[in-house]
């Protein structure tokens, strides 16, 4: 931290990542034709700001590249160069290189000298080829509208706010730039300037009045102030030229009218909104937020401890203390939710990368697809948004590559030749769901099964349900791509996707209809730090069950519990039989109650809405638990999603209902039969096969 510039660099890179997002968004809008004039400006500004910052820190490679990009964008913005779709492709390439250069600068890596020269060359070519045609265009416009070249007069009043100086803008530079546009006279307004003794160096006191005689139009004048919009009071009033000096009254009458609209709309609106926006958000280092999250986590544990102690007190004896503890619990819950909200981010930041992916994929695969996105504003923890990007891209890639048919086949089967991929996000039951749905061919179960048998994932004489076949695609070492395309089939399969999602405490499931398409559903926890749990006792150990999965707790009567031939117990619950899961067995707990009629049955909902009855000794209490990782110092335990610290300071394991569901299925499955999610044993089988 010896570099005094370090903290400014941190801010710069944070800004860069935001600018890059808006740059890509803008380019995508230009691509899809959803852009307006502001889009091009925003795109230009993003590159311009990155270049500016990079220059200040001496990132020369970045500056050099950004400069070319900026020049091209500027010419496009001023419509010297027409915006063609193929130019956008070049700009997108340039975007990739720019973000890579930013990344390299951030990592303090040296970049290869030739890196990005292709894109730079492509951009230069655009400019050169357009420059040869540009003069004609200019010629045209002068022929059509010679009046535009006429002299205009603007009265400009400019009053910078402190913020303008705080953002390191310099009025003298703006004034010089303005002076370059034509003949200018200016008057300094010192009416608000106090005596020297009363001056605060941090405040802004000066204002200027300009009278500018120029050949340029109002947009050119506005452009001078582009970067200080919102940080100053700016009025640009075109002075009506006396009709006598002009021969073309008609057109002049139109122009000022147009300009007047501009004056009222653009600067005024911007200034107003700019003022209010200023103080609405602050930039905070993630470390600080995480420290806060950790502290709140400790507070939740302390509060659980207090509550446990408090529950032993007699309310009559210590009414205030008991009430105080109750209140504390409520406040801590509110505090915890507010703190988590700080880390929450809309999934938009991830979704926004997908349209481009789809576009590139369809182009390289010769398919036609439309990506529809909904629920982009759905918020989820930052860690989740950071880590679902890759799995999501992989799944989209799969949908386009394997899911969607080629246009010809689609037409033949009576579908629109353009396929649709629907990417959506929504909240339900304390989790976030992300769905990817395509209207392609669906999973071809015959091919999947054939492939699985070929790869030795299942034996030939297995009979599998449709769902089980669909789930085969999540097996390690499984790839259905009949020919390995350069899009999919890079060796990373859906098993990696599932692993990534599971590491976030998430689940993924698939449903598919032949000829109609497939739907992947991911469900992820909203936060990775705290959850509502039910503490249960099994033997001497306490375990935590996620509250969201619990349907009901009951003690069945003897006649309600029945045994199946394979030894499993079932119980009648709401007119259906559900399996009773012996948790004491799965978690190897001694001295636990085995008879559900002596203990309790907690009915929980597992994956796919499957109900199960967990046998426990008794319920302890319901409380918020802080999720701690076992993997930090040890390793992942099957059936457990993490650990927590209870009020008594002891560690308690958080049961992962979906893996327990899989474990029970595995335990009772016949040896020959395929069971979904036998990842571990199957990979071992594979290893042994490779050995022999």
């Amino acid at each position: 931290m010896s570099d005094p510039m370090e903290q400014f660099k941190v801010v710069f890179f944070e800004e860069c990542s935001e600018l890059l997002v808006s740059l890509e968004e803008g380019l995508m809008q230009l691509q899809s034709g959803e852009s307006d004039s502001e889009t091009m400006n925003a795109v230009f500004r993003a590159v311009h700001s990155i270049k500016g910052g990079a220059g200040a820190f001496g990132f020369d490679a970045l500056v050099a590249f950004a400069h070319i990009q900026e020049t091209l964008l500027d010419e496009m913005r001023s419509e010297t160069i027409e915006i063609k779709p193929e130019y956008i492709d070049v700009l997108l390439q340039a975007y990739d290189i720019l973000s890579e250069l930013v990344g390299a600068a951030q990592r303090r890596e040296e970049v290869d000298e030739n890196y990005g020269t292709d894109a730079a060359l492509a951009m230069k070519n655009i400019m050169e080829s357009s420059n040869t045609s540009a003069p004609e265009k200019l010629q045209d416009s002068t022929d059509e509208e010679p009046q535009n070249i006429n002299v205009r007069i603007f009265r400009i009043s400019f009053k910078p706010f402190e913020e303008l100086y705080q953002r390191a803008n310099e009025p003298i530079l703006l004034i010089r730039e303005l002076a370059d546009l034509g003949e200018m006279t200016l008057k300094l307004d010192t009416s608000h300037t106090p005596d020297l003794a009363e001056m605060d160096a941090e405040l802004a006191y000066f204002a200027w009045e300009f009278r500018l005689v120029t050949e340029f139009d109002q947009d050119a004048v506005l452009e001078v102030f582009e970067f200080v919009e919102g940080d100053c009071e700016l009025d640009i009033i075109p002075e009506e030229l006396s009709a006598a000096t002009e021969t073309t009254v008609a057109i002049d009458a139109i122009d000022p009218a147009r300009d007047n609209i501009n004056v009222q709309n653009t600067p005024a609106a911007k200034t107003n909104s700019g003022e209010t926006v200023v103080s609405q958000s602050i930039r905070v280092e993630l470390d600080k937020v995480d420290r806060l999250v950790n502290m709140v986590g400790e507070l939740v544990i302390t509060q659980a401890m207090l509550r446990e102690q408090g529950s032993q007190l007699l309310v009559e004896q210590y009414p205030n203390l008991v009430q105080g503890i109750e209140e504390l619990s409520r406040h801590i819950r509110d505090l915890q939710e507010s703190v988590m909200a700080i880390r929450a981010q809309p999934v938009k930041s991830v979704f926004s990368r997908m349209p481009r992916l789809v576009r590139e994929l369809t182009a390289s695969l010769g398919k036609k697809a439309r990506l529809v996105m909904t629920g982009e504003e759905t918020e989820v923890d930052k860690t989740v948004t950071e880590r679902i990007g890759d799995p999501l891209m992989h799944m989209i890639r799969n949908s386009v590559d394997h899911g969607l048919e080629s246009p010809e086949i689609r037409l033949e089967s009576g579908k629109d030749e353009e396929g649709t991929i629907h990417l959506s996000a929504f909240h339900r039951g304390g989790r976030i769901f992300i769905e990817i749905e395509d209207d392609g061919a669906g999973i071809n179960q015959e091919i999947v099964l054939k492939k699985a048998i070929e790869n030795g994932l299942v034996s030939k004489d297995t009979s599998l349900s449709d769902e089980e076949i669909n789930n085969l695609i999540f097996m390690p070492g499984f790839s259905t791509a009949e020919s390995v395309t350069n899009v999919s089939g890079r060796g990373v399969g859906m098993d990696v996707v599932r692993k990534n999602i599971q590491s976030l405490g998430g689940r993924i499931s698939i449903s598919s209809k032949a000829g109609r398409g497939s739907k992947f559903t991911m469900s992820l926890p909203l936060t990775l730090a705290v959850m509502d749990g039910m503490v249960v006792e099994i033997g001497d150990e306490k375990f935590v069950l996620p509250l969201v999965n619990i349907i009901q707790t009951l003690r069945p009567a003897q006649q309600e519990v029945n045994s199946l031939p394979d030894g499993r117990n079932v119980m009648m619950f709401r007119d259906e039989y559900i399996f009773l899961v012996p948790l004491y067995d799965i978690f190897d707990v001694k001295d636990a109650i085995h008879d559900p009629c002596q203990g309790l049955v907690v009915v929980v909902e597992g994956d796919g809405g499957v109900l199960m009855g967990f046998i426990v000794d008794e319920l302890v209490n319901q409380q918020q638990v802080v999720i701690k990782s076992l993997e930090t110092n040890y390793e992942l335990i099957e059936g457990v999603s993490g650990a927590t610290i209870l009020g008594n300071g002891r560690v308690s394991l958080i049961i992962d209902i979906a893996t327990v569901q899989e474990m029970t299925a595995k335990q009772y499955a016949k040896p020959q039969e395929f069971v979904p999610d036998t990842e571990r044993s199957l990979s071992q089988e594979q290893i042994s096969m490779e050995v022999h």
Binding site: I586, S629, N633
Partner: protein, 173 residues
């Protein structure tokens, strides 16, 4: 009950030069004496009950809460196939830092802090032909008793564990 807190440097893989003097913490398991380098030791804690984890090796006693962090505790006696420690009030857990991980080692009692020059450390006989004894850095005689200096990383590193089946140390000693 924190009695000793060592400094931050936690590198037990340093290359030893002749004449290097290092400090070690020695402890008992039964009658045997073992030692670990002091710089890897974070603290020494009195035994507290652990929460056992399902489907883990026998010598994995479970996890404890070390000021908000979940730390696994291993039974050194069980690791050496000498049965299971019946921990009581006098037993201690040595909290050791292994690269990124923090673990606890259950031993009978802490014995001493030893200052040993690298020249005093003798090779384990047979170590060249028995790679399973690689967890021992060497042997040293202190007041006519033998102390085996161990490398906890090779005993309890989760990534190495499945492959390192270790025979009772008695055969060497």
């Amino acid at each position: 009950m924190t009695t000793i807190v060592a400094n931050d440097a936690g590198n037990d893989d340093q290359i030893r030069e002749a004449g290097d003097i290092n400090q070690y913490i020695s402890f008992n398991v039964g009658k045997e004496l073992y030692a670990v380098e002091i710089t890897t030791v974070r603290e020494i804690k009195g035994w507290i009950p652990t929460t056992s984890l399902p489907n883990s090796p026998e010598y994995m006693r479970g996890v404890i809460n070390l000021r908000g962090v979940i730390v696994p505790v291993f039974d050194l006696r069980t690791r050496f196939h000498r049965g299971e420690t019946e921990p009581g009030k006098t037993h201690v857990v040595i909290i050791v830092k292994l690269d990124e991980r923090t673990i606890g080692i259950l031993v009978d009692a802490v014995s001493d802090i030893l200052t040993i020059s690298s020249e005093e450390i003798l090779d384990v006989p047979d170590q060249d032909v028995n790679p399973e004894y690689a967890f021992m850095e060497g042997l040293v005689a202190v007041e006519e008793k033998m102390v085996a200096i161990i490398k906890p990383k090779l005993l309890f590193d989760m990534d190495l564990m499945p492959n390192t089946e270790i025979e009772p140390v008695a055969e060497v000693a």
